[in-house]
Structures are given as C-alpha cells and as structure tokens.
Symmetry: C2
Subunit: 336 residues, 2 copies
C-alpha cells in the first residue's frame, strides 16, 4: 500500500508546475507512444468462458465491427481444444503459461498442450518483450463472480493503458467499469495478453462457465467498441490530458478455511457472496462453516474483495482476492 | 395436455363420494404403501454440482442429521471420478445411463465408466423395478438456471411421492418449492434415482458449476430435512389425507436457433433469461440473435419455461424446456 501511494505521489509531482496552466491541447511532458496499429482480441483463453469465445468466433467470420481506419484488429481463439471441449483448459491453464521458462522451453510434442500453444501464440503476437510484439492485446474472460465489467491491468506505469481505462470508464458512464490492477510480485501471473506492449484483460460477470448470457455478451461488446475507439483516436493524433484513474490493487489471496487434510470446511458467507468491490471491514462476516459458524475478517483495515467465489479458483486455493482502492494519476499521452 | 387433464379428472373421480365426508383420520380408499425404511441420498451424479457433493460428503462422515428412528438413510457419492475432476461426467452422463440396455449389458472394462458405475449402483440400490430396490432415492442436483428449489418427479401416479411434495411445499412455505414432472415419453430419461421405488430429484439453482453458494446449500439441506420428516411420519403410521399438488409437466424441448452448420446464432432473450416458471405467451421474446434480432415464441398458448439457459444442456441441444401447469390430485396414503 505504501509503495502504491508513493507511486501516485511521484506521478503527481511529475505533473506539478506547468501542467495545471497549459492549454488542453499541449503538455510538455506528455508521454509518447508509437501508434497502436496492431491489436489482437483473444477469446477462449479459457474455453468455457462463452462471451469471449462467441464474440471472437463472430468476428473471425466478419470483423467489420472491430476494424478502425488506423487499427488492424485480429480476433483470435487462443485455446481451440479447450473451446471444443468447453473446458477451462486441457493440460494446464493457458493464462498462466506465458512464463519465460515456458516460452523458451525446447519445442516438442511432450510439452503440455497449452505450453505448446503459448509458444505458438508468442510467435504470432510476440515475442513477449520485443519491439515486434503486438501493441495491444485484449483478452476476454468471464467470471462466476458478481464483478460486473472489470478491466485488468498488469502495470501501474503503463500510461497508455491508464488513459484507455479513463476513456472507457467515461464512455460507458453511468454504467460502471472497474479497474483491477495486479502487479503484486507473488500474485501476478503470466497471462496470454502479457506478450503485448499494452496488455488488457476484460473480465465480465457473473456468468456460469459454459453459459452465454445476453447481458454479459452485450456489456463485453460495448467495452471493446470504446477501447478500439480510444486506440483509433490516439492513432489519429489526439492528445489525452492527465487524468486520474481509480484502481483496485490486488494485495492478498484468501483461501477457503480447510481442515488438516486440506478439505474445505466453509463457504463464502452470505453477507459477502456477490458483494465484489464492496468494503469488507475488520469483524465483517467472511465465511460460514458447514455447521453454521461464522468466520470474520480479521485484517487491520477496510479492503475491497473481488473474484468472490469464482468457480475456477477453487483449484487455485482462492476464495477471493483482497484489493485496496487507490487513485492513480496518468500523464498526458500522445503519439510519438 | 389433454392426456394430463384427463389424468387429473380420473383421479378426482376416484376420490368422489365418501372422501369429502370422511373424518381426516380414515379413508376407505387410502393407497397403501410399505414402510419406506431404505432411503438413499445421491450426490455427485454430476460431479460439478457442488451442493449435493458437499452435503453427501458431510453426511458420509456424520449422518446424524439425516437419520430418523424408522428410516435408514444412506448418503452416497454416485460418480466419484467426476467429483474428483469437478466435471459433469467422465465418459457419458450418469443421469442418462440407467436404461434397461445399459443395466443388462455384459459387464466389462470396455464399457464407459458411467455405464459400469450404473450397473454397480443398480446392484447396491436396485435392481431397478424389483421388490429389493430401495424405497426412496433423493438425487441432489444444481442448475445454472434460476429455478429456485425444484423437486422432480417421474410419475404422476406415484401418490406416495405426490404426498411428499405436498408435505414439503407446506413445510417450507412461505418459501417456495416447485414440482417438475417429467413423464414425457420422449423427453423422459433414465435417471440414477429411477432404480428406487420412489425416485425424487432435487434441483436447486441458480448456482454455477464448480461453485458452492451458501444460500443454495442451505435450501437443499432444508428440503431434505422435511422430506425425511415426511418419510418418518409415514413410517410411524400417519395417514395423509387426499390433497392437490401443482406440478409443471414437461411437454417440449426448445433448442437454440442454429445456422445450417448447426452453430448457435442466438442467445436466450434478456426478457426470458432468469424467468424460469413465469408464463411465456405467444408473441413474447424468446431469443436474441447475435446481430440483435428478436425471435418470438410462436406456440398456441401460455406455457411455463424452465431450465432456461442451463450450462449442461447446450450439448443436449436444449435452451429450455416448456412445461404446462397442472393440478394433480393425490389420494390419501397410509402404510400397508
């Protein structure tokens, strides 16, 4: 938390002085980025998250809706075998597979399917960390948690992405769209989108695995429209003034209570179930054991839980993640 | 519909005359049933429906809660391999596997896992249709549909079960519990519970696959408590007077709209999503195509859809089932 606070303050300091008095059209210290011409939209990174699978399949057939004059958008099914089986993955979670070790492992059929697939995707859309990598990758996900529309970032320092978040949030208002920031050194993982210069996760819920709900489908579609509009405006030369973005910063993973054999002995408490993003205060109910006892949150202060009771996270020993709410400042940006 | 209506009228006729004037404690034409001493509770017939899996696992460890003086209740995980993998099934749907062909197939390791398992379960709790079969089997299921608490019957002629439904509905009021009756000659299937003399399905939702929600867990637990109380009272000799039971009678399966290649081209319409059990009238919106067109219900009269957008039924080409609401009359019952 202190680290993140310092980050905000430092950014604010960068903008002090002239920024407040400059006209909107010009900022001496605008961050410069190359045009974001190459954009990919990934669906089916988890084969049973149906909004992304369905949208990307539609766009593979007809991509008119996602093309812009100055943006080439490539829709892509990342885990076709998992999509066919309508399962999260076949051998291992593709959205954890883009680690340096996996991407540099000697190729071969003995590698897990998703590791082979990660290498292939990295060849097409990466290589990760290289100048040849795609500019932006949107990776479309669904969650069984009551998270609404959530954009997931991996870095608080990517001002292009922070500006995009601000644009999308304003564009869809009064509907809401929250930003989850996962740059925790231990909880961050090697996502499919991480091979792009600007990786953006889009997580919309609640939707059960294997189900397509029209409200979730349409919400995801609208967010992508605004995201692509932002990139188009940026590529056309629009300058975006400094702004602030509220983010929820992942700070801790909370597991289900278990017995000595590792068996789960409690459920998410009904007072917490479906209350993603709402404050959880010390003493608030958190779990309910199968014999009816309440387990309370014992942390030192208010936190904001999310990914509450997500189906796919039982195997990851995670009942929810705890986040802390912060306001980040994004510098002005313009194209180089 | 006409068939079912006749059934009700015929039953009413059976009870005409003396029934209305008899004292509550004695009915000349009470249906007689043997004591229901042997009762099983099945969980994990679908390995990713977590309320039943969790309750049955708890009761296997400590069955005090489900025992009654005159009832021996056996909690049983029917598909342990699917439970371990947290998947609906391994080779084939166990809850469609109890057909005469499967149950009489020569045993062998080359049979699908669930067929082998069906034979094993039939040996323990059946044989299906024989006097040795268990008296009652409750099979615990969850659905992603917004069905609330649903009890599923396979016969309109089982007055023991109809009386049980009436008892449970009254016991949990003002909470509601609906009865789905599937005795459609083509849509009925060979359930796990069908090996018992009195098979009862319990379907509670909405709950995503692989998720345990406390509200769904507690609702299922309460219904089972009342069901076992009913059996205990019956075994003790209580006579249950004639009653009526509202049921929703499965009459048709509706598939998602598809293109010539069999690909789904529309979603459940937002006006219908989550509206299980509510009337669907001719002209009401039913589906929404991916390009925004509405498809309306064209049937001849009001129906009551349920299992709307259930995850597991995509592979069964079923967006929902249509039911017709009827009132059945149950005769008085007492033990033989």
């Amino acid at each position: 938390m202190s680290c993140a606070t310092q980050r905000v303050l430092r950014t604010v300091t960068d903008l002090s002085g002239p920024a407040g008095t400059l006209p909107m059209s010009s900022y001496n210290n605008s961050a410069r980025f190359n045009e974001a011409r190459r954009v990919a939209i990934f669906g089916g990174t988890h084969g049973n998250e149906m909004s992304g699978v369905t949208l990307v399949n539609l766009w593979v057939k007809n991509s008119a809706e996602i093309q812009r004059k100055r943006v080439e958008t490539k829709p892509f099914i990342t885990n076709p075998k998992a999509v066919e089986k309508c399962t999260r993955y076949v051998d291992t979670d593709l959205n954890r597979a883009f680690s340096p070790e996996n991407l540099s492992a000697p190729e071969g059929d003995d590698l897990p399917y998703e590791v082979q697939r990660a290498q292939e995707i990295n060849r097409i859309f990466g290589p990760k960390g290289s100048p040849e990598a795609y500019d932006v990758i949107f990776d479309l996900h669904n969650t069984t948690s009551n998270m609404g529309c959530t954009l997931i970032l991996e870095s608080s320092k990517d001002h292009f992405n922070l500006q995009m978040m601000n644009y999308i949030k304003k564009a869809i208002a009064p509907a809401s769209c929250l930003v989850l920031l996962n740059e925790h050194p231990l909880l961050k993982y090697s996502t499919s989108r991480s091979i792009a210069k600007h990786p953006v996760g889009l997580e919309v819920g609640p939707q059960p695995q294997g189900v397509l709900r029209s409200n979730i489908f349409e919400a995801m579609r609208v967010i992508l429209k605004h995201a692509l509009d932002f990139i188009e405006l940026f590529n056309e030369g629009m300058e975006f003034p400094p702004c602030t973005v509220e983010v929820f910063w992942v700070s801790e993973r909370i597991d289900y209570p278990r017995d000595a054999n590792g068996n789960i002995i409690a459920m998410v408490h009904p007072n917490l179930q479906d209350c993603d993003w709402e404050p959880l205060n010390p003493g608030d109910p958190m779990f309910q054991t199968f014999d009816g006892k309440t387990i309370h949150y014992q942390g030192p202060g208010t936190v904001y839980p999310t990914f509450i009771n997500e189906a796919a996270y039982y195997e990851k020993q995670q009942a929810f993640v705890i986040t802390r709410r912060e306001t980040l400042v994004a510098s002005a940006i313009r194209k180089a």
